[in-house]
Assembly symmetry: C2
C-alpha cells in the first residue's frame, strides 16, 4: 500500500479521461470504460462481457516471493473476478506474454498451469494469445470474455440511497499477506495465520457463483470486485451511482488471521480491511427488502459469508466511516499498490478503467 502523491493521481486521472474521450458511443456497446468489464451486444440476445488485466513484474508480482503458478493463478483471478462482479459466466481467455531473455519454457508452463488450475473449474477455455520478447521483466496481459443475461447485469451505477452495502468473505487478508512477504514475520504471529494470509494473497477466490446468483435472482442493485481496496472500490460505486455511503467499522468482516496479524503488528485491522487491495471479494448494494434472502444465502454458502457493512446515502452525505468510537469521519481514499511502494516510478498501478 502506498500513498501516491496528488500529482501522480492527477496524471492517472488525466490518462483515464483520455481513454474515455476516445471511447466513442456505439449502439452495440451497452457499457464501455468505467465498470468491471465492458458489455457489448453482438447479434445475440446474450450480451458479451470483456475485461483485460495487465500484470507487470516488479509492480504486481515479485519473482522472489511468488511462484509462477501463483502468478498465473492470480492473473486469471483478476479477470474472473471482473466477470463475477458483472454477474456473468466466464467463457474464454487470451493470454499475451512478454518474456525476458532469462525466461524458460518451464516457467511459462508453470504460469499456464496456475492459470488453468483456476480456469478449468469454470470451463474457461484458453483460445489464443501472443508472445513477445521483453527487454526487461515479465509482462502478462490477459483478456477474458464472459456471457451475461440481458437485464441481469450488475453495474457499478445501480446503488440507490437506502440500499444496504454488503461484502463477501473477509477483507484485508491479501494486503496482510503482501506485508508478510515483503518484511519480517512478527515473532508472535502463529505460523498457520501466516500461511492463511499469504495464501489469500497468492490464491484469492473469484466469487463467480455468488456474482451469478446476485444477478440471476436480482438481489443486488450494484456490484464491484474489491481489487483496489474497499475504500477505493466503494468510491467507484458511489461515483458511478451518484450516491454517498456510511460504512460501519465495527461490522467489517475480519478473519481471525487478520486480527492476529493486526495485534502482532499493533496495527488497526479495520484500516487494513478498508485500504488493502486484491481481496477479490464482491462489494454490492441491495435493497433492504433483500436482507432476509441474503442472510439465508450467507448461511447456505458457508465458505463465502456475506456481511452487511453499511448503508447507501444521498450524494451530499459523502463517503463516511462510523468509527468504533461512534464518530463519523470521511473515508480516506488511498489507492492500493499491488506489490510494494514503487519508489522508482512516479506512476502507480491503479486500474484506470476497471
Amino acid at each position: 500500500m502506498a500513498h501516491p502523491s496528488s500529482s501522480v493521481t492527477g496524471e492517472f486521472r488525466l490518462i483515464r479521461q483520455l481513454a474515455e474521450r476516445f471511447s466513442w458511443s456505439h449502439p452495440s456497446v451497452l457499457r464501455g470504460i468505467g465498470d468491471d468489464a465492458a458489455v457489448v451486444r453482438l447479434s445475440t440476445r446474450r450480451p458479451l462481457l470483456l475485461t483485460t488485466d495487465l500484470l507487470a513484474e516488479g509492480i504486481h508480482f515479485d519473482l522472489r516471493t511468488a511462484a509462477f503458478e501463483d502468478i498465473g493463478y492470480k492473473a486469471a483471478v483478476a479477470n474472473l473476478s471482473d466477470i463475477a462482479a458483472m454477474g456473468g459466466r466466464p467463457h474464454a481467455m487470451l493470454v499475451a506474454l512478454a518474456l525476458p531473455r532469462t525466461a524458460t519454457s518451464r516457467q511459462v508452463e508453470r504460469l499456464y498451469r496456475g492459470m488453468m488450475r483456476i480456469c478449468r473449474p469454470f470451463m474457461v477455455a484458453l483460445v489464443g494469445g501472443d508472445t513477445s520478447a521483453s527487454r526487461h521483466g515479465w509482462f502478462i496481459s490477459m483478456t477474458m470474455t464472459g456471457v451475461a443475461s440481458p437485464h441481469r447485469i450488475l453495474y457499478r451505477s445501480g446503488a440507490r440511497p437506502g440500499n444496504d452495502l454488503w461484502v463477501s468473505g473477509t477483507l484485508g487478508d491479501s494486503a496482510a499477506g503482501l506485508q508478510l512477504l515483503a518484511g519480517p514475520t512478527p515473532s508472535r504471529l502463529a505460523p498457520h495465520h501466516v500461511r492463511t494470509l499469504i495464501a489469500r494473497h497468492h490464491r484469492p477466490t473469484p466469487r463467480i457463483a455468488l456474482g451469478q446468483l446476485l444477478a440471476s435472482q436480482k438481489l443486488a442493485t450494484a456490484a464491484i470486485d474489491v481489487s483496489d481496496g474497499l475504500s477505493g472500490d466503494l468510491a467507484h460505486v458511489c461515483e458511478e451511482s451518484g450516491v454517498g455511503v456510511e460504512v460501519v467499522a465495527a461490522t467489517l468482516p475480519l478473519s481471525p488471521a487478520l486480527r492476529a496479524y493486526a495485534v502482532s503488528r499493533r496495527m488497526d485491522a479495520a484500516r487494513l480491511a478498508l485500504q488493502g487491495g486484491e481481496d477479490y471479494e464482491i462489494l454490492f448494494t441491495a435493497p433492504s427488502s433483500a436482507r432476509g434472502r441474503l442472510e439465508r444465502l450467507s448461511r447456505r454458502q458457508d465458505r463465502c459469508p456475506l456481511t452487511r457493512i453499511g448503508t447507501i446515502k444521498r450524494k451530499r452525505f459523502g463517503l463516511r466511516l462510523r468509527q468504533m468510537d461512534g464518530k463519523l469521519v470521511a473515508i480516506p481514499r488511498l489507492s492500493y499498490e499491488h506489490f510494494s511502494e514503487r519508489r522508482d516510478t512516479n506512476l502507480t498501478n491503479r486500474d484506470l478503467f476497471q
Copy 2:
C-alpha cells in the same frame, strides 16, 4: 530481420506447444490457438472472433524512430489485420498499457489518437482496458473482437492441392522501411521512395474489405495475414492445411519503391518480399475456377491489386520457390524480427499463436 538460432526457434516452439497443451477442447470453441484469431460461438448464430497482440518497446517499436501516433496506429492494424484474415468484421477493442515513469499523458493521448484514426473508419469501439506502471519501457497489449458469418470464415487450414496462391498489395515495403529507419539512407534512392517505404512500415493498411469479400463470396479456401513475412506465414498455411506450395519468384508483387530500394542497396527485392514481415497484406488460396472473378476484383479494387504468385501442391512437394533462373529451390524459412536484431535477448518476437 534476423536469423534466429535454432535453439531460439526451439524454445519458442516449445512454448507454443505448451499453450496448445493447456488449450483444452470446449464445444463452443470453433477454433482456438493456431489461426489469425480464435473463433468462439456464444449463444448466437454469428461466431465471435478474438485476437490479441502485444507490442514491446525496443522489440516492436523504437521511440527514436516512431511517433506515438504511428505506434498506436500499427498496434491497431496488427489486430484489424487478424480479423480481416478471418473474413470478419472488427467490432470492439480493449487496450492494456504498461507505462514507464517517463510516460506523459500527452504521449498516451497520441497513442490513442493513432489507434482511433484507423479504428474509427471501421466503427471499432474502444470499450475498455487496463493501465499499469512499467519499470522499463512501454508495453501495449491490444485485444480485438470481431464478428463473422458461420460457414464463411477463412481459416488457415483450407488450402487444397491445385488451388492458386494469391496475395494482396505489394510485399517487402515494410521491411525496407524498417531498414531505412535503422540505417543510413542510400544516396541514390529518391526521397519519395524513402517516404513511401517508411509510410508503409509505420502505417500499413488492414485489408478489412478484401477479407470480408473473400469470405462472403466464398472466393478463398484459406487465408492468413502477412505479419511474419511471406515465407513464414505461407509455412503456417501449408502446415495447417497439410499441403505444399510452389511460389513463382517472377510473379511476386513488388512496388516501384521497393525495386528502387533493392537496386540502391544491391539487394534481391524478391528476398525482401519473401522474408520481410509486417506487410499486413492478405495471403490466400483459391480454386482455379475463381481466377476470373479474382482478376476482375483486382481491377475494381484498384488500390489493392491481387496477384497470383503460385500454386498449392501436395504435402510431399514441400515449400518451394521457382527462381528467376527457372531453378526450383526450397523456400528458406526465416522469421522476421519486427524492430531490429535483438542482440540482447535470446528470444525472438515471432508470434507464437497467431
